[in-house]
């Protein structure tokens, strides 16, 4: 299987604990090798490019430069939408603006070729080889779970940076999540902004953004929302209860990282992907689906075994193909 240079980003080591756990579970099951970029640093995120453009490029480019030097030939993968956007911008500028590339190289005092591709987790899980490997390891079917895939802004916009062909209705995560047997519902707030760091520095203005996302997910029949970004996830998960309280809502939509659902479908326990570490209670809904799925799979396997008298051995629970 293809190897990747890994840029976890600062949140992966702290708030994005469920993202980290579930991803590590999947990687270990399918034998995915992620080589962490040695001594990586913060990409600068939103703050750097509101202050100093050169600093924003340089902080991100340092990571690409180290990866190119230490992990030559590997694509760089990052789980965070914001890191992805910043690294991708640096890479884009390095690729398309020779003068700026040289300037960045100068301040880094490292060679910055801008040759390594920058990928997000959705790009990674789009790889047919990885998808095949996941399919082989599937042990549960999450059928019956209606999932609203939330992409946020930076995975798809601006399209010249991300290369997304349909920023209004991206489908990558939907396709990945449907591997689990769950249904990725059509909804309209896939790429609406969650407010990002404004949830901290301008909460009085930004909370309504989260409310609107939950409202649309609920209106379209979502049981859960899945994200592919530590910050989006935290903004939704951590504030759902507060929204319910302050806005007088009754949302009951747990928020997962998409990797959590995949890990669960692959047989991970609640502890394996940190279901108990959610802010908004998430265990019940997923437990329900898993139980129903198991019963159904058992019944099907039984029926199958009856149909085929030659088939013997223990009843295999799972591998219920879609």
């Amino acid at each position: 299987m293809k190897q990747y240079a890994y840029y976890p980003g600062c949140s992966m080591d702290s708030t994005a604990v469920t993202y980290k756990k579930s991803f590590e579970y999947i990687a270990s099951k399918i034998g995915l090798v992620m080589k962490e970029i040695p001594d990586w640093n913060c990409c600068g995120s939103t703050a750097a490019h509101t202050k100093n453009e050169k600093m924003a490029y340089a902080l991100s480019a340092r990571n690409i430069a180290i990866a190119e030097e230490e992990l030559p030939g590997l694509d760089i993968v990052t789980p965070c939408a914001s890191c992805y956007s910043r690294l991708k911008y640096a890479s884009y500028v390095g690729k398309n603006d020779e003068a700026k590339r040289q300037e960045i190289e100068e301040v880094l005092r490292r060679s910055f070729k801008a040759e390594a591709e920058v990928l997000n987790f959705l790009d990674l899980f789009e790889d047919p080889e990885i998808q095949e490997a996941i399919k082989e390891k599937l042990h549960r079917n999450l059928e019956g779970l209606n999932v609203a895939c939330y992409y946020g802004c930076l995975m798809s916009r601006p399209r010249e940076i991300t290369g997304e062909t349909d920023p209004e209705n991206p489908m990558k995560m939907d396709e990945i999540i449907e591997l689990t047997g769950a249904k990725a519902i059509a909804w309209d707030y896939k790429t609406e902004c969650c407010g990002a760091s404004h949830q901290v520095d301008a909460p009085e203005h930004a909370r309504e953004l989260i409310d609107r996302i939950f409202r649309n997910a609920q209106a379209n029949g979502a049981d859960v929302i899945v994200t592919a970004c530590p910050l989006c996830n935290m903004n939704l998960d951590m504030r759902e209860a507060e929204i319910n309280k302050n806005f007088g809502r009754k949302y009951n939509i747990p928020v997962f990282q998409f990797t959590e659902l995949i890990a669960i479908a692959m047989g991970a326990s609640a502890a394996d992907c940190g279901i108990h570490q959610h802010f908004f209670p998430a265990f019940d809904v997923i437990n329900e689906v898993v139980k129903t799925g198991a019963k159904k799979a058992a019944a099907e396997a039984k029926a199958e075994a009856k149909k085929d008298p030659l088939k013997d051995g223990p009843i295999v629970v799972g591998k219920a193909g879609r």
Binding site: D166, E168, N169, A186, D188, Y189, R215, N216, A219, N220
Partner: protein, 659 residues
């Protein structure tokens, strides 16, 4: 040796004030081939012309140069003058001593020197002029109209009323086009079908009009006065000569598909008459839908047709006909907004409809018998949003142009909703309201008085929550975002040239602009002509427009056609290209670059040593060639030349200039 006469005009003092005309005439006398030269006050005047004619006789001149005003001014005058003499009218050159010498210079010595040089060039050129004769071509007194919408019907009726045969070629099974789909027409609110169906019937019944429905133009040859057009008639699978139009077949047909006429909002059978007032009112079979034709099953229509008009073996037929003039009236289609605007749902929501769908919805003969209801659940909408400029005025996602009719039809839709649904609310998101037409601004005024809310701003997103469509816009006049919870959204989608216009245009050898509209010869002064003589255009194939403009343009195109068909024959310009076929290598480069498709490759007998062979050479169609000369510069062997502006003539001019 040529005997050239040079005549230098004073033009009063216009030329004489800055150019020493006597000196020019004097200098001309010593130019090669000049037998006679003189100056005169007004060459174009009666006595001036008489003087030239006398000099021709007296000095036995065989070609003349006139140093006067621009050839664009008096070339034709002097050519006409020469018609009465022994000199061929094309053995004339004019040196432009007024507009391009006397009037633009002040230094008399230098201007005189330039004038002498200009005369020299004209003398050098005229020595190489060849006598040319205009020829005449007969005119076929029939017209072809491509497209049977209101533009085509109007043009055909006008031409037919003037006494000429007209054929209407329409690709659909009926004429009528878009107008007959509309409910009411602004600003007078006439019933659209009530005023257009009589015209359709007139066209169908007119003794001079032949309707060719389910037909397309396959091939066009020839030129003004003599077009030869091959028309392809698609298989109808119903013999219209036998069919009485009883309609029994379509009531029994078990296959139902989406109705084009009702814009996808109802079903029709596989054998169908598009709508009740269709002309001809006879069915055709849709070969994609028919069970008999696709799976060899069913066959019910054949069994129940009382006169045996059904013919499953029907095939495509080709006929070739002669026409003197052609009118292009291929019309429009609405842009495919679903591809352009994913932010408006991209077609996900049934209750986001186009203006044309609304026309069917509100029409008494439409799928809901005129009740305005939501396509999704059949409920009457209370809050309706109309979004203007969908696909128009949008360089990134759609077309740059303004689609012109939308402001008015949106106002009309608002009026109809407010009128038909009590307590309804209509919100119109607009960027500008454009109402340039008689009674239009007043109509817009009344719509606002009816209660339509005009909100200035473009809509950013339309999505669904529950049964409501959420429309997000900005009220840019107060500078706040607005959200409207609507039951139905009507998009005022832009018009674009009908699909297939590319093929029609390339078959006719005319052109399109960057937006695929058929190009008129001149936007102001030749608005219904194309750059190919004898081919005219009208209606929305030329650009977005409303019905009054379409109908007036159709009348204008018809009058141009009548102007041609009125003559028995027409004169052609002799200043066109011709090929020296002995030198032509048949490379075909000239064929490629000719904008009029006037050059073709033909096989002619030739010789290779003593052997007789056939060789491929270029040939110019004299009726099509407009004399631009583009081909001459592309010819490798120099065998193609432009009469009146031959290589020899121009080279001699160049030489004279450089003396």
């Amino acid at each position: 040796m040529a005997r050239i006469g040079v005549f230098i005009c004073h033009c009063g003092t216009n030329i004489a004030a800055t150019v020493d005309v006597e000196k020019v005439a004097e200098a001309a006398k010593s130019m090669p081939g000049v037998a006679y030269a003189r100056d005169y006050k007004y060459m174009c005047s009666e006595p001036g012309q008489a003087m030239i004619k006398e000099a021709i006789e007296e000095h036995n001149l065989d070609r003349i140069v006139i140093g006067s005003c621009s050839p664009r001014m008096h070339e034709t005058t002097f050519r006409k003058m020469l018609k009465g003499t022994k000199i061929n009218p094309y053995l004339l050159e004019i040196a432009n001593l007024r507009e391009q010498c006397a009037w633009v210079h002040t230094d008399k010595a230098k201007a005189t020197e330039k004038a002498i040089n200009l005369v020299q060039m004209a003398v050098a050129k005229v020595a190489n002029n060849k006598p040319l004769t205009t020829s005449t071509i007969p005119i076929t007194k029939r017209a072809l109209v491509i497209g049977g919408g209101i533009a085509g019907i109007q043009a055909a009726l006008d031409i037919a009323d003037a006494g000429y045969d007209v054929t209407i070629v329409e690709k659909e099974p009926t004429i009528g086009g878009h107008m007959v789909m509309l409910d009411k027409t602004f600003p007078t609110m006439d019933c659209s079908a009530c005023i257009s169906t009589p015209k359709m019937v007139d066209a169908g019944a007119h003794p001079n009009i032949t309707l060719k429905t389910s037909c397309e133009v396959e091939k066009v040859d020839g030129y003004i006065g003599n077009f030869e057009v091959t028309i392809k008639e698609k298989a109808k699978y119903v013999n219209h000569d036998l069919c009485t139009g009883c309609g029994l077949c379509q009531t029994k047909c078990p296959t139902k598909v989406t109705s084009e006429f009702n814009q996808g909002m109802s079903k029709r059978s596989a054998i169908y008459i598009p709508f009740a007032q269709a002309v001809p009112s006879k069915p055709v079979i849709d070969p994609q839908a028919c069970l008999k034709l696709t799976k060899d099953k069913c066959g019910i229509c054949e069994k129940i047709c009382p006169i045996g008009a059904i013919n499953y073996q029907d095939e495509v037929k080709y006929t070739t006909e002669q026409y003197g003039a052609i009118v292009v009236a291929t019309g429009y289609e609405l842009v495919d907004w679903k591809q352009m605007y994913p932010e408006y749902g991209g077609g996900k929501y049934e209750d986001v409809i186009t203006g044309l769908q609304f026309e069917r919805l509100v029409n008494a003969s439409g799928p809901t018998e005129g009740h305005i209801v939501r396509p999704s659940d059949g409920k009457e909408p209370k809050d309706v949003v109309i979004v203007k400029c969908v696909g128009s005025r949008d360089p990134k996602k759609g077309k740059t142009y303004c689609s012109r009719a939308c402001c008015m039809y949106s106002a009309k839709h608002a009026h109809q909703i407010l009128d038909k649904i009590p307590n309804s609310r209509v919100y119109i998101f607009y960027m500008d309201v454009r109402t340039p037409g008689k009674g239009y601004e007043e109509f817009y005024d009344n719509t606002r008085k009816d209660g339509a809310q005009y909100i200035r701003g473009r809509v950013s997103k339309i999505y669904k929550e529950g049964s409501k469509l959420i429309v997000k816009g900005e009220d840019s006049l107060i500078g706040r975002p607005v959200t409207v919870e609507a039951d139905m959204v009507i998009l005022a989608t832009a018009m674009e040239a009908a699909p297939g216009v590319e093929e029609v245009v390339s078959k006719l050898g005319i052109s399109m602009d960057k937006d695929r509209w058929v190009q008129e010869a001149h936007p102001k002064l030749r608005p219904v002509e194309t750059q190919s003589a004898g081919i005219f255009l009208c209606g929305t194939c030329q650009g977005p427009k409303d019905i009054p403009d379409t109908v007036s343009q159709a009348g204008a195109a018809a009058s141009k056609v009548i102007g041609i068909l009125n003559h028995d024959e027409m004169e052609t310009s002799p200043m066109i290209s011709h090929v020296d076929q002995t030198k032509c290598a048949g490379c075909g480069y000239c064929v490629e670059c000719c904008p009029y498709k006037a050059i073709s490759l033909v096989e002619v007998p030739g010789r290779d040593g003593n052997r007789k062979v056939t060789k491929t050479v270029a040939q110019v169609n004299e009726g099509l060639c407009q004399g631009c000369g583009c081909c001459t510069a592309t010819c490798r062997t120099g065998c193609i030349d432009l009469r009146g502006f031959t290589n020899d003539q121009i080279l001699k001019e160049v030489d004279a200039l450089c003396l």
